[in-house]
């Protein structure tokens, strides 16, 4: 267990178990200190493998560090730190504990050098994230958490089947780059993609995340999908299918976010949209594209957490979450508004924000590979992102009509969390080399060329114009948009009930034998048992099995 002290993931998991025993200032100090320790330990760790453990005849490698995994651990620890800062006074201990275990699981997945330990922590993440959702303790969060866990455990078993088959076929449990060419690797890919929010099971994300508490969503947005991006980066770089899945997710996210009325659901859909950009990068598969995907994951975690923190602050102060109920909050929540706008600019990749320096790498990679259509679609999507997340979210929440609500800015620690991330968003945008030197491959890319900046500004300005021209269309009412989850929320129960009905009939036929034994008489000690037709049925069943066996033999 000596290595567990230096293993950032296990460190977080263990400290997560301790959080419930701490209160007040002690808890605050503890939750702020631990992520810093994790960050320090990962930067003091040499590249390579360490910490091997024996399990089920296999030698597990709990730590395999390289530039890519260090990048993800870094952003994960920063997010845990800021997320804890954001809610250290307000959140329930249960939620913080679950969030720490969840984050620890994500870090352990990133560090895992073999498929089995990866899978173990993968499942731990699924369980802990469900606890984060449930900590909101509302009826909706219970139901959504229930659907969430079922889908994730389903993804877990698919992944497990793939891993078992892969281990069987290759004899090695090491987690290396794979080709999706056998059923085993396809299953692994499916398991990974499910966590990335890929179609057809995309709906879990927007279904579950907004039901968590105001702070829980901040944690949720960071880990599950980004760990999936990480494992895809490592396991399936250059798989062409990912480009199309990515494109689908990009437009799916935009369309549903434009239709949505709940502010945190808008942001949840935009997670799907942003993960789509990363998958595109992974699918293109050049060094530039992979760098871009990794960098975009890094910046996206930060600005999405920032956006969700500002949405969380609004929710915390007003208790309202629908765009139609909000508006005009800029007058009394200036800090939240400014931070929200910085996040919105970053997600729209406005020059001088972090999104600009990372997303442009993915689009540049498509240019380098002469993928014209993909480039065009990505550019169109960039405009779409500005529409739904860049303008729609801040406009309807902070400006627009005056809803009459006059809440104050949230408590100091929540403001500090937002300001910290807002500063990072701008810093990374102004000094992109801070980000570039952490990337897995060498970067020969300069984002701030005149042509690039002008193109991007034009794009953003025109889509901004489009938004205000079409403003009446953009206004949402209390509608419900139908998604794929209709199948498992409505259709499956109906089918299941029908099936149950038939099975009951089936059981009845066989049970007849015993109810016909005049049970009541037997229990009244009259003992006039009548062997009736039903009893014969049971016998027939036995004979049936025998004759069936004969036929098969």
């Amino acid at each position: 267990m000596t290595c567990s002290l230096f293993h950032p993931g296990l460190l977080l998991i263990l400290s997560g178990l301790l959080i419930s025993f701490l209160h007040g200032t002690k808890r605050t100090v503890f939750v702020l200190l631990i992520p810093c320790l994790a960050l320090a330990s990962v930067w003091n760790m040499p590249f390579g493998s360490a910490c091997s453990v024996q399990y089920l005849d296999y030698e597990l490698t709990l730590i395999k560090l390289d530039a890519l995994s260090r990048l993800f651990i870094t952003v994960f620890s920063i997010t845990v730190f800021t997320g804890s800062l954001f809610c250290c006074k307000q959140a329930k201990s249960k939620e913080l504990a679950a969030a720490f275990i969840y984050a620890g699981g994500a870090m352990s997945v990133v560090l895992a050098g073999d498929l089995i330990s990866l899978f173990v922590f993968w499942e731990l993440m699924a369980l802990a994230s469900t606890l984060v959702i449930w900590s909101a303790q509302t009826t909706n969060s219970q139901r959504a958490g229930m659907r969430y866990i079922v889908i994730h455990l389903l993804g877990g078993v698919i992944l497990m089947c793939g891993i078992t088959a892969h281990v069987n076929a290759t004899g090695s449990i090491l987690f290396t780059a794979m080709q999706a060419d056998s059923i085993a690797t396809w299953l692994i890919l499916c398991g990974f993609l499910l966590n990335a929010g890929a179609p057809p099971l995309t709906a879990w994300l927007a279904d579950a995340y907004p039901e968590a508490s105001f702070s829980g969503t901040v944690f949720l947005s960071a880990f599950t999908t980004k760990t999936a991006v990480y494992v895809l980066l490592r396991g399936f770089p250059g798989t062409e299918l990912l480009v199309y899945i990515g494109l689908f997710m990009i437009f799916y996210g935009i369309i549903y976010a434009l239709l949505e009325n709940d502010m945190r659901r808008i942001l949840a859909y935009s997670i799907i949209n942003q993960v789509g950009f990363m998958l595109c990068g992974i699918g293109i598969g050049t060094e530039m594209a992979l760098n871009g995907a990794a960098a975009h994951a890094f910046t996206h975690i930060i600005y999405k957490a920032l956006l969700l923190m500002s949405a969380g602050s609004v929710l915390y102060m007003t208790g309202k979450r629908k765009c139609t109920d909000l508006g005009g909050l800029v007058q009394s929540m200036p800090v939240t508004t400014v931070c929200g706008i910085i996040g919105a600019l970053a997600i729209s990749s406005f020059p001088l924000t972090s999104g600009f320096v990372s997303k442009s790498m993915v689009t540049q990679a498509s240019v380098d590979e002469h993928l014209l259509w993909i480039w065009l679609l990505l550019q169109a999507a960039s405009a779409g992102v500005f529409l739904h997340a860049g303008i729609k979210f801040p406009w309807f929440v902070f400006f627009q009509k005056d809803s009459g609500l006059r809440p104050d800015d949230p408590p100091l620690n929540m403001q500090m969390g937002m300001i910290f991330f807002a500063v990072i968003c701008v810093l990374l945008g102004v000094f992109p080399n801070m980000l570039y030197f952490m990337l897995p491959y060498d970067v020969n890319y300069e984002p701030y060329t005149a042509a690039h900046v002008v193109t991007q500004l034009q794009l953003l300005l025109f889509s901004g114009l489009a938004f205000f021209v079409m403003l009446p269309l953009m206004k949402r009412t209390l509608t419900l948009s139908l998604d794929f989850d209709w199948f498992y929320r409505k259709l499956v129960p109906v089918i299941s009930n029908q099936l149950f009905h038939y099975l009951v009939q089936f059981e009845k036929v066989f049970k007849q034998g015993f109810s016909d034994l005049k049970l009541s008489h037997y229990l009244d000690n009259k003992l006039n048992i009548q062997l009736s037709v039903g009893m014969g049925m049971s016998m027939i069943m036995v004979v049936f099995v025998i004759s069936l066996s004969y036929l098969l033999l």
Partner: protein
């Protein structure tokens, strides 16, 4: 000196102790006595386990009559492994039994329960130990008759119905086994298992042998509650006194799985069962159907005991599935699940017993908000449930891993789909209760729990032993996995002609 007689002592000890319980009469005394016997029996099985590991197969001639004329007790690794499971479950479950059954069995019949319990243990241990096919039938009958008695002994009137149903089914099963043994005797002229196995090549491809095999499989199918012959099981588990359900779930069905393995490999032989008769496919289809059917019906239950009973039908399918793969890895996977399912199911049943102890009900809908009043107990149930689902770092995961791996080795993708799908169903039926217990507002039954009631410490102790075992064997599975692998390897070396 005594060491050489341990095999017979293993069976004789509970057999002699059973009537003594009737003489003791007084309930606490007979409980103490029976528990002591169980622990002694457990120690014997540990010693035997070591002996078998050190010196290989032990053959004990009963009464000095050498086989094949006399009855032979034959201990190989599989026998020793099963003895360990059965005795371990029996000893620890009985330790906590007193506090629970006082509620469910009227006090003047308590000593009879302990008598029946010890007799059942005798029967079960005898089935495992014996190397004689007819003797096996006798022990099966001892085990079955005493379990009918145990089921019907409760205060709940419905248990009479359940016991009667089990009696009818069980008797049909036993007669089928007897017919099968008779047919084997007719063609080979011997009852000793080793002897039968050696003489079978002479009578290969005869109709009699096929008939014997089919009668045997159907008979054992009823006893082990293999789908679709499981109909007695849900009632027997849900209406009998809770301790009885626990013990039956942990031991009886496992023993019949053992008998199935024993007969397939070391009586009928791999060649007959799997190569000539293609029994593998019959068992595989039944196993898959059982897995899906059991899991599906478990979802629909409101009574916790009934839910666990249906889940047992499904889990039994897993064991059968491993066996039906007809490979070394498959057999090992089946055996690993025999061990793991014993500790999983007993842990779950014990938590249900404690729930019943406090609330007098096992209806899920009435137990809303239970986690608020009994957090530790619900945590135990949760761990057991996660293990049943097969979440990593629990015992259930190890079984599932090896089962899926074995299916892949044969290239049976369909089986993997079944396993995957049924574990999703398992999530649903376990989570159904977890959700109610953790998220619903406490119901009147739960609010009415009397805080001053005496805490059943021994029962809690038994529960924690099994819960910890679930986690322990999830982390360090060397005991059961290595043992199961060694058994499977031995079986394929000794009984399967390559």
């Amino acid at each position: 000196m005594i060491n050489s007689h341990l095999p017979v002592l293993q069976v004789l000890l509970p057999l002699i102790a059973a009537p003594l319980c009737v003489i003791l009469r007084q309930s606490v005394l007979s409980w103490l006595f029976a528990t002591l016997i169980c622990f002694l029996s457990f120690i014997i099985s540990c010693v035997l386990f070591n002996q078998v590991l050190e010196s290989g197969v032990i053959s004990y001639a009963l009464g000095g009559w050498l086989s094949p004329w006399g009855i032979e007790y034959r201990l190989d690794k599989l026998t020793a492994f099963m003895l360990l499971i059965i005795n371990g479950v029996a000893a620890i479950v009985l330790l906590g039994a007193r506090e629970s059954i006082a509620d469910e069995i009227s006090s003047d019949r308590l000593y009879l329960f302990y008598t029946a319990f010890l007799l059942n243990l005798t029967g079960v241990l005898g089935v495992i130990m014996t190397g004689d096919a007819f003797n096996l039938f006798v022990f099966i009958e001892i085990a079955s008759l005493s379990s009918y008695a145990m089921i019907s002994i409760g205060n709940d009137r419905r248990c009479l119905y359940a016991a009667f149903k089990y009696l009818i089914f069980g008797t049909i099963g036993a007669s089928f086994i007897l017919i099968s043994v008779g047919l084997l005797y007719a063609v080979t002229g011997t009852l000793n298992m080793v002897d039968i196995f050696q003489r079978l090549p002479d009578v290969e491809n005869t109709k009699t042998l096929t008939t014997a095999l089919v009668f045997f499989v159907v008979g054992i199918g009823i006893k082990a509650a293999i789908f679709p012959l499981h109909l007695w099981l849900p009632d027997a588990y849900s209406y009998s006194p809770s301790i009885v359900s626990t013990f039956l779930a942990g031991t009886t069905t496992k023993v019949f799985v053992y008998v199935l393995i024993r007969f397939i490999y070391s009586v009928f032989g791999y060649e007959t069962v799997f190569v000539q008769e293609a029994m593998s496919h019959v068992l595989m289809i039944l196993a898959c159907a059982g897995i899906l059917y059991g899991s599906y019906l478990a979802i629909q239950q409101d009574s916790l005991k009934r839910l666990l009973a249906y889940s047992s039908v499904a889990q039994l399918g897993y064991m059968l599935l491993g066996i039906s793969l007809a490979t070394e890895a498959g057999l090992a996977a089946g055996l690993i699940h025999v061990f793991n399912h014993a500790i999983i199911k007993v842990a779950l049943f014990l938590s249900v017993i404690i729930i019943i102890f406090y609330t007098k009900t096992d209806s899920i809908s009435k137990l809303a908000g239970l986690a608020k009043t009994m957090p530790l107990l619900m945590l135990s149930f949760l761990i057991g449930g996660l293990s049943l689902i097969g979440v990593p770092l629990t015992a259930g995961f190890v079984s599932k891993w090896f089962l899926i791996k074995a299916s892949f080795e044969n290239g049976y993708w369909g089986l993997v789909v079944v396993i995957v799908f049924s574990s999703v169903l398992a999530i649903i039926y376990i989570w159904k209760f977890i959700e109610v217990a953790y998220f619903k507002e406490p119901d009147k039954v739960v609010i009415a729990i009397d805080g001053n009631q005496k805490t059943p410490y021994l029962l809690l102790f038994s529960l924690f032993v099994f819960v910890i075992a679930n986690v322990y064997f999830g982390l360090d599975s060397s005991l059961n996995v290595d043992m199961a692998n060694a058994i499977a390897q031995d079986f394929y070396l000794d009984f399967v002609v390559q």
